[in-house]
Amino acid sequence: MDGINLNALSENATRLGMRIQETIAEHTRDLSLTRGGSSLFDMADDKAKNITKQLESSSDREKLDAMKRLIALISKNRPVSSYFPAVVKNVASPNLELRKLVYIYLLRCAPSEPDLALLSINTFQRDLADPSPLIRAMALRVLSGIRVPTVATIVLMAVRKSAADPSPYVRKAAALAVMKVYKLDQAHHTTLLDIMTTLLRDRSPLSLGTAVLALDTIAPSRLDLLHVHFRRLCRALPDIDAWGQVDVLRVLVRYTRTMLPKPIPASERQEEEVDKDLKLLLACAEPLFMNKNPAVVLAVARAFYYLAPPPMLSKIGAPLLRLLSVSREVERVALPYLLVVARSHPALFITSHNRLLVRVDDAEQVKRTKISVLLALCTVDNHQTLLREFVDYAQDTDDSVAGDAIHAIGRIASLVPSSTSQCLTALMGMINSKQDIIVSNAVLVLKSLVQHQLLTPSSNPTTTLATSLSSQQALLTSSIPSLKPSISTSLSAAPLPFTSSESTSIVQAPLSIIAQLARRIDDIRHPHARACVLWLVGQYGSVPGTGTTVEGVADWAPDVLRKAARSFNTEASIVKLQILTLAAKLILLVPTHRTLVLLAQHVLTLARYDEDWDVRDRARMLRALLVGAVAGFMSSNDEEGLGENWNKKEHAGRPGVVLRREQVTRVLFEGKTGTIGEEPVADSRPLGTLSLVMESESLHLHDDDDDDETMIDLPEWLEQGIDPALRDSDDDAPQVALSSAAQAISSQAISSQHMPTPTGSTPVVLTPAGGSTPKDTKDWRDLNKFYASESESESEDEGEEGVEEGSGIDEGSSEDEETSEDEGDEEDERVAEHDPSPSHERTL
């Protein structure tokens, strides 16, 4: 420490001296307060010629100026590699400011100009021994950025050296370099793993997070290397910086799913069974919910969602909701995650559903996701409120949002059957809207609702029957179990009495809806919606018995056909197809009605000469179908004289099957399967991924081999965890020792305390107790570590020179090691011991 300080002081002194010289020389320029950077930034390209000359001048100010110009060129994407030799000369400049700019240039250019960078490789190597950790780290970053496989060995040596650096900042750079070397040349995998074992032993939370990340990058399958570090990582979690916390949590989630037994939720037979290491992880991660960084909060929520036993899941509700109020952007990303959680655990958010109400100034995507979430939270209790909300959202200025809201109303109707009439009223109100988009969406939803109810008149009573039956059954069987069979049979034998009243009231409503839709056919302009109405009219236009103007057909139906026939030529193809179907159905219902038959013939004839292939085909098919079913159809057709040839040929040459009316009715009316309400698909994509956020583009995302990554990232639970003894490490010992007064001093004390017994845990590893025997390879690896641990004492001695820098942090982590224990008496001690620590920090 003293040595570094002395060095630093002397360096600072020289630096300051130079600075003063410069400032005196350039005093006037300095006094003008603007830095004049923008003039450099926007300078003309022809001035760039001077840069080389400036770089070779003896004045640092000139050189600085040149470097700034170079960086300005870089940001304008101009080629700058020609200056490389001139720049590299300055890499050893005593002026720190200049050197930093040189390094920025090198960091940019070295990867793209590896050959040039090779020439100066010695300089970088020399800089690895620079007294400033900043320069050491930068040199390592440049070295590892040179992408030439031939120098990989040199870089590897540099990384190995830096991995034992006293400064955690340099060690962090080393961990990052490990990833880059691995990307460059995977042949060095074993050496890198070796370095990783050093890095993972790191005590400073500053570099620990990056070390875990590096391990995850170069050897995602080697989770076994984390056994001995698992508990320490958990305890260090609060002290790692936010970015590290995200990475470590991600890896620990994976570790837990692979190595720990799945928690068994509490049931009647047994108590809840959660592994104590899992408990430790969750206990250490939970305070991070209070982190300001949204990515950390999500990472913790993710850990709880995928690991915690069900009772603990309730903890993720409030933090996820808090993310929504952080910023618009965070809200946008957090909502799809929240949707996944809400779909699987709606109870978490039901009480706070008003936090998810749509605001007019939300972005479109946010509005749509909010509607989905609200829908996922819909229950019998809150459906009234939600229905009112959705009715409001239907007026939204975004078409897609209005559409979603109207479809949501339809979903409420099917989710909460008792609300059906309300939903229908709301949708019927929308039919009268002046907005095209609202009308057409409402029609589409109405169609599926009506169809759902009408098409299943047989199933509707049965469902109501089934529920009433089951409730009755439950009631009865609970009291007199022996009666069960006889009662159920008697009930099913006579279902009518208590279902008919219900079903008629439900069936009645949809028909009047179709009637209203039919009357408003002129206002419904959206082709899809028009087609829907036409189909509904045709499908449900039949009325049994008499009393209507045209017997057998509802009063409103024929007029729809009349209007449609008149506008046939201007309709979209999808509408034309439905007009044809409607015509066919109506004349099938009343084959004797002359006007209707004429109308139908008119339409069919128009369709015959239609542009659209499908329309012509449909017309032909329907005509052929109806030949035998509708009396007078043929003859009247002949009268018109249109298509006479075809008809004659067709008629004469028709030896084949002519269907009877009943048969045609069957063909046209029956077997229309009901629309299946879109059930939200359980999302398999894990939380915290881009593909979940970009739901609409998810298909494309899944084209890549992301699926594999997903599996790697979030594996299934193992049946049985591995032996927890593998996670025992010498780090566990100081827990007991921590309560001693010595703990506050520094990590030196800790390491010296347990140094004498490094082998304490290793025998357990060698002879695993219990059923789950690790594979041979694991034994072998751990044995390796066992031998390594003996030499560890030496390396740790070396490391301790630098530990002082991080001592305050270590102290913090030791504080938190205790926080996880939740034991009151120890905490009290901690408070007492806490006071000496700041004074210690001050003496540093």
């Binding site: 002081l9 002194a13 300051l16 001296g17 600075r19 003063i20 830095r35 923008s38 450099l40 926007d42 870089i74 700019l101 940019r108 990867p111 900043l134 320069i135 990052l176 880059k180 910086d241 936010a242 970015w243 305070p287 209070m290 300001k292 960084n293 949204p294 990515a295 950390v296 909060v297 990472a299 409030a318 808090r322 109020s325 965070v330 946008r332 990303v333 109400l357 007019v360 972005a363 479109e364 409001d392 939204d396 200025t397 002046k434 907005q435 881009l690 956020v693 970009m694 995302l701 890549d704 990554e709 820098e805 001592s807 942090i809 504080e815 938190d816 926080t819 700041p838 001050r842 540093l844």
Partner: protein, 446 residues
Amino acid sequence: MAIDGLIILDPAGRPIIQSSYTTYPAAYPLLHIEALNNALAKAPREGSVDPVIYVGELSCSSACCHVEVGGMRFVATISGDVDPLIAFAFLDAFIEILHDYFGIVSVVTLKDNFDIVYQLLEETLDSSGHPLTTSPNALSDIVLSPSLISKLLASVSPAAPGVPSARQGGYGAFTSPIPWRKAGVRHNHNEILFDVVEEMRGIVGKNGTTLVSNVFGKIESNAKLSGTPDLTLTFTNPNVMTECAFHPCVRLQKWTRDNALSFVPPEGRFVLAEYQYRPPQSALISNVPIPLSLKANMDMGEFGGTFALTLTSRLIKVMENLELIFYLGEDATSAQCTLSSAGSSVGSVGSADGSWSFNSRTKVCFAATLRWEILNMRSSGSWILRGSWTSKVKAPRPAHAFQIRFEIPSYSFSSLKVDQLRLSSETYKMYKGVRMRSKGSIEWRW
């Protein structure tokens, strides 16, 4: 599988500053810039652009996450199945650092100090795509700030070792045992200031009932303290705070146990805590009363409509900079309004009534908006805006809600009160200050 890089675009959509994309094809950043500019051009109204834009042209899945600051766009491009929240958290941290260094983040300041921005970029984001050092205190040791003070110190101070400024520069870096605090800070005048800023966000339904209203608070601090000050901040009513989030310096365990904030603050500005206000009378989070009321008579006709809006304050305090925004839709062409105020005890005239403006559809903002501003809204009386607008379509489609924003100086919804601030581990006296400020953003549907 990480943040590929960061691009800063000027208001015209051209890149000003760009991190190195050396390991990517040359077109890579350009594709992202283009995707973003396209999306911005297509946006129907301000703020409706999706903050995450998927870029599909590439072989790997990639997206750009963007935030608007001072007219510029800060873009973080990500590739692989990364959590976009990391990108936004990083952008936030980076923008905060820029604020710290330059005070104002604008095209001018960034161009003036582009070399410093590049240094910061290099230090905060490694080329592997992982954030490095983002704590402003740690960075200030690595990258010198351009502030006037450091300049003056550099030109004036003699070469006497031990002067605080001498500690600046690369060698002072990483010597602090606390990652978020610089080592060896000395001030002649020690002070710490707290700003409690509360924001109400609410929605009022068509019938005037409050559907939801929540208050979110933030404690912003500005610390200028010497040495390693260990502070304990206590409140008389800490139970009004719920769902808290803290700066990393806060000892979480102390908070859960004693409801006291115990921390060693970083130097300079930072957000100490964020919370949600929990009204004390009930266990559940219920709605906080909204301090104003709006009566809206809307009449929608063909090719336009008329409206009469009456705003009344329910608060004894004066509300400032009240602003009511009404999106008239893409098709609105003009609006005409008259302002008046009724029952006001003070005979207010002229500008006190407020003002209104109409912005027709522009390239930036597709929806025409009507803006009504009242600079000072006193407790009594009501403010009325009557008017009409025209539209070029038969059935106009305005937003069915008004956005109301306001500020209330020296007021807090939660009446959170600081009990005391204790300093241990240092002996000097410090100046302590607490200020309250509130603002609101209410959506009023009609």
